[in-house]
């Protein structure tokens, strides 16, 4: 133990000397401002790029999660020989004639806010919103009903079909 103490003291002295030399060396270094600032800016840029890539990976992950939640379905509607496709991209979708509805159906027999579709764990439900002409699923008048792929929803005189999306996105 007594031998160790002088050794430690010598080591401490050496460490102090080395540190003070290093300090003198660092403070005497004349690194051009431009190089230093450019390095800091470059690192900041790299951080921003890494963040954008991370956000893209997260976006794909969230899309996968959404496919699991929504079952990747869409609503098809035929109006005057035109076929419209509405992907179900929100957890609550409002169907109606009004322009602020998610899916606007320009049919006077459809109420302003006719029905609402909600998703729970991959299953879609439709709820009638006090519409006078009622909401029908496979020609059965309903207040609330669980939907399955291929079901025909009738709002007023408009028919909508719940189908799988033809080309599911890569994230699935």
């Amino acid at each position: 133990m007594q031998d160790l103490l002088p050794e430690l003291q010598r080591l401490w002295e050496w460490l102090k000397e080395t540190l003070s030399e290093l300090w003198t060396l660092i403070t005497s270094l004349q690194v051009p401002d431009l190089v230093l600032s450019a390095a800091a800016v470059l690192i900041l840029d790299l951080f921003a790029i890494a963040i954008i890539f991370a956000a893209r990976r997260e976006s794909r992950l969230c899309q996968k999660r959404w496919h699991r939640v929504s079952n990747d379905l869409e609503l098809q509607c035929r109006i005057a020989q035109n076929e419209y496709h509405y992907p179900l991209e929100a957890d609550e979708i409002l169907l109606g004639r009004h322009s602020s509805a998610d899916i606007q159906i320009k049919d006077s027999s459809v109420s302003r806010y006719h029905a609402v579709m909600t998703v729970t764990g991959g299953t879609w439900y439709i709820t009638n919103l006090h519409a006078k002409t009622g909401t029908f699923v496979n020609e059965q008048k309903i207040q609330q009903k669980k939907l399955a792929v291929g079901d025909c929803i009738r709002l007023g005189n408009t028919h909508l079909y719940l189908t799988e999306r033809p080309f599911p996105e890569e994230g699935r």
Partner: protein
């Protein structure tokens, strides 16, 4: 490993490198009086980084990029604020940063569940009411601040997140309309309009006209979300009516604005250099003096000007750190807002919340930066995450928490699973609780 099973090693390494390179810049180019202060600053920055990264590991989130961005920006602002004039750790700003991070987590946990917000809307209305009362009855002569000993609070800052929440919550009940004379309007939309009118009136009464554009833009976003929700077509009549009302209000505000506002709108800062244009003139001179790379941390002279660390903070950063670093800081805040666009929210509520928060932060940034550069009249609005001020930092943290909630929402089946889990939890006697 984070709970979404993605690896963020490169982001974390670059986050640390960013802060270390800035500290190296302070060390080499700054005017260091005491090395101990620099060590304190470095310890605070690294401590904040490590502490918050460990805390985020505890939460189940789908996205973490907003956390990294917020941490990066806050620590940058801590380094900036600690170097204005002399290099000394700004303990007050460090505390504000910690509060900002805390309120970010609070914002995330409180707003991610839209069913809970839908049920507890009345409490948000009550909170706004209380903030109104506190502004009217408890603020000092300037009608802005509540002074509590050595602390002062600005209640109007807290109204911003509450107002965005009201906008978001009211959009969920859009279809529940009632007829008032010729108009069909939902009860929540009516309350929202009343809240908005009251906020505008209050801001006018407080002479806090700088915040008016921020609230105006949030309200405009809320209207746009109502008019053109994802797949709906815009009703031309509604848009035309809203535009007309907006233009009418702007013309009236322009004509009936108080004298000091009129003066500020038309002031020639160089003609009145030592009067009303003093701060802006000094700010512009400071930006020019700093050039691309700045004069070095602590070597600037703008720290002698009033509100150098809040209203004209952009110019102070430009002077000491250079235009390049200041623009990069702003770019980082913009990237933080843009990452949200990569993963669009999947519900009415979260979409409106995200749009509102983005509008609020963009408005504040524009007012501060363009005001400092004399491109628009000087408003005295703070630069989010950078300016000093606890109220502003807490409010901004909460807003980022709301953005995070939009990125990692709770869907219905997850809520149902949680309810089932709660129901299955056994009681002490081994009987399942109802």
């Amino acid at each position: 490993m984070y709970k979404n099973r993605l690896s963020y090693s490169s982001v974390v390494v670059l986050l640390f490198l960013t802060h270390l390179s800035m500290l190296a810049l302070v060390f080499i180019r700054g005017s260091i009086v005491s090395p101990l202060e620099l060590i304190k600053l470095a310890a605070a920055v690294v401590g904040l980084d490590v502490g918050y990264l460990l805390i985020t590991l505890c939460y189940t989130q789908m996205t973490y990029t907003l956390d990294f961005m917020l941490l990066c920006i806050l620590n940058m602002s801590l380094i900036f604020q600690s170097c204005f004039g002399e290099i000394q750790l700004s303990v007050k700003h460090l505390l504000s940063c910690v509060l900002c991070l805390f309120s970010c987590e609070m914002g995330f946990l409180l707003t991610r569940n839209h069913e809970r917000i839908r049920k507890n809307k009345k409490w948000i209305y009550l909170l706004i009411g209380l903030l109104f009362v506190s502004i009217i009855f408890f603020t000092d002569n300037q009608k802005k601040w509540i002074t509590l000993g050595s602390f002062s609070l600005q209640p109007s800052e807290f109204i911003k997140p509450c107002f965005i929440l009201v906008c978001a919550a009211s959009i969920m009940e859009l279809h529940e309309k009632m007829k008032i004379t010729f108009f069909y309007i939902s009860k929540d939309s009516l309350i929202l309009c009343l809240v908005a009118v009251f906020i505008f009136a209050l801001q006018w009464w407080c002479r806090d006209l700088g915040s008016l554009p921020t609230f105006g833009l949030i309200f405009l976003c809320s209207l746009v979300c109502r008019f053109c929700y994802p797949k709906a077509k815009i009703s031309k009549r509604s848009v035309a009516i809203t535009c007309c009302i907006g233009v009418l209000v702007l013309i009236m505000a322009w004509n009936f604005a108080p004298d000091y506002v009129q003066k500020r709108l038309h002031v020639d800062i160089w003609a009145d250099r030592y009067g009303d244009g003093y701060q802006q003139c000094e700010a512009l001179i400071g930006i020019a003096r700093g050039g691309w790379l700045g004069v070095g941390a602590g070597n600037g002279s703008l720290h002698e000007i009033f509100a150098h660390d809040s209203d004209i903070v952009f110019a102070t950063i430009c002077e000491e750190w250079g235009l390049l670093m200041a623009v990069l800081l702003i770019m980082l805040i913009l990237i933080m807002l843009m990452t949200v666009l990569m993963n669009p929210p999947k519900s009415y509520y979260h979409a409106m919340m995200t749009a509102g928060v983005t509008a609020c932060l963009l408005a504040q940034m524009s007012l501060n930066i363009f005001g400092s550069c004399n491109l628009i009249p000087f408003t005295g609005v703070t630069l989010p995450f950078v300016s000093t001020g606890g109220s502003s930092m807490i409010s901004c943290g909460f807003l980022v928490g709301m953005l995070k909630a939009g990125q990692s929402p709770l869907f219905r089946h997850e809520l149902m699973k949680r309810k089932k889990k709660k129901q299955k939890q056994p009681t002490r006697k081994g009987v399942t609780s109802s």
